[in-house]
Symmetry: C2
Subunit: 198 residues, 2 copies
């Protein structure tokens, strides 16, 4: 194997979920059948790594100082939805009809890993909540232990500034068979059952 | 989502087994935690796509006109092992103690796909067999229908030039791709290869 090919296989392992064997298969595939695509990938990747930064308003990825959503005049500025990652934000944007703004933490509170309020930009969020424009803070962090702790912290922060915090509903997933839902979810869904209306 | 990020996600799909969702995860991962690795990958990929060509002797990938193995004085030039792909060659090289040379077809006979002897460089192989240096042609194509057809063709070609053809021992799982066979099985099959009869 050539030195350059070996380097390529090693370099591909920066991608998540790509081990030695996958990297090898990818390298061979690109060299055998996808040279144009490989050239294109190299160029776009180099440009993206240099040019994509973060929006100064919502902390999501952006090529411009303020992203298109934050700069848009047609979004409802009274609603602010807090998510953990850009992927979560994208999921909400594509699945729901939400027309408010977002705030991307790029992580969640995890004191043991040294991730506190400062690392998540919560000081900037506090300043924004104090500004008075936001009426509702929609807390869309994960339903994990750390996500819940982060949600609790965010709700307190919102109340301190007179902003109403809300949390995504928890319960059975749509189309989920009761038999296969995990105990915790089932117990929670049962406990917080709501009255059926006509 | 920014236009550049969208381009990056599309470009990543040139990699085998990477769909829209994986590409998105890869792009976010590189931007969040692997910018240096991403920069490195872009540079190596661009260089590899331009500089890695094929060895004029064995048709494997090579940065130089003749690859290191073909140029080596310590390999046994009487043995020539024919494989379908660079990955197969690498698998044999790492799993067995083989010290002869290789010939990489970069495919297998498949008339329906327009892949005939010419596409696999079999004219050059015939010239080489006629040269008289090769005593044994080890046919290490896959144990698939097309691999077997290719093996049969190669065996005939060898006999025409007075070269003894041999085939990896039965023991390879039926229909199995050589690249994914475990080391032990591959090594055993390689070691107990048998002479091909008409």
């Amino acid at each position: 194997m050539t030195a350059l090919l070996e380097q390529l296989i090693e370099a591909l392992r920066v991608l998540p979920g790509v081990g030695r064997k996958s990297a090898q298969r990818m390298a061979y595939h690109v060299l055998e059948r996808g040279r144009d695509g490989g050239r294109q990938l190299a160029a776009v990747l180099a440009e993206a790594v240099e040019r994509i930064g973060h929006c100064s308003q919502c902390r999501d990825f952006s090529e411009t100082p303020v992203c298109a959503t934050c700069a848009s005049a047609s979004r409802d500025r009274q609603q602010l939805c807090v998510v953990e990652s850009p992927a979560d934000r994208l999921a909400i944007e594509t699945a729901t009809g939400y027309r408010g703004l977002y705030y991307v933490l790029q992580g969640r509170l995890s004191p043991l890993d040294g991730i506190g309020p400062r690392e998540l930009g919560l000081d900037a969020l506090a300043t924004r909540l104090a500004g008075g424009e936001v009426a509702e803070l929609i807390v869309a962090t994960s339903a994990t232990v750390e996500g819940e702790a982060t949600a609790h912290y965010l709700a307190q922060l919102a109340r301190q500034h007179g902003v109403r915090p809300s949390r995504l509903a928890q319960g059975l997933p749509l189309g989920g068979e009761l038999e296969y839902v995990d105990r915790g979810t089932l117990s929670h869904a049962f406990g917080s059952r709501g009255e059926m209306r006509e």
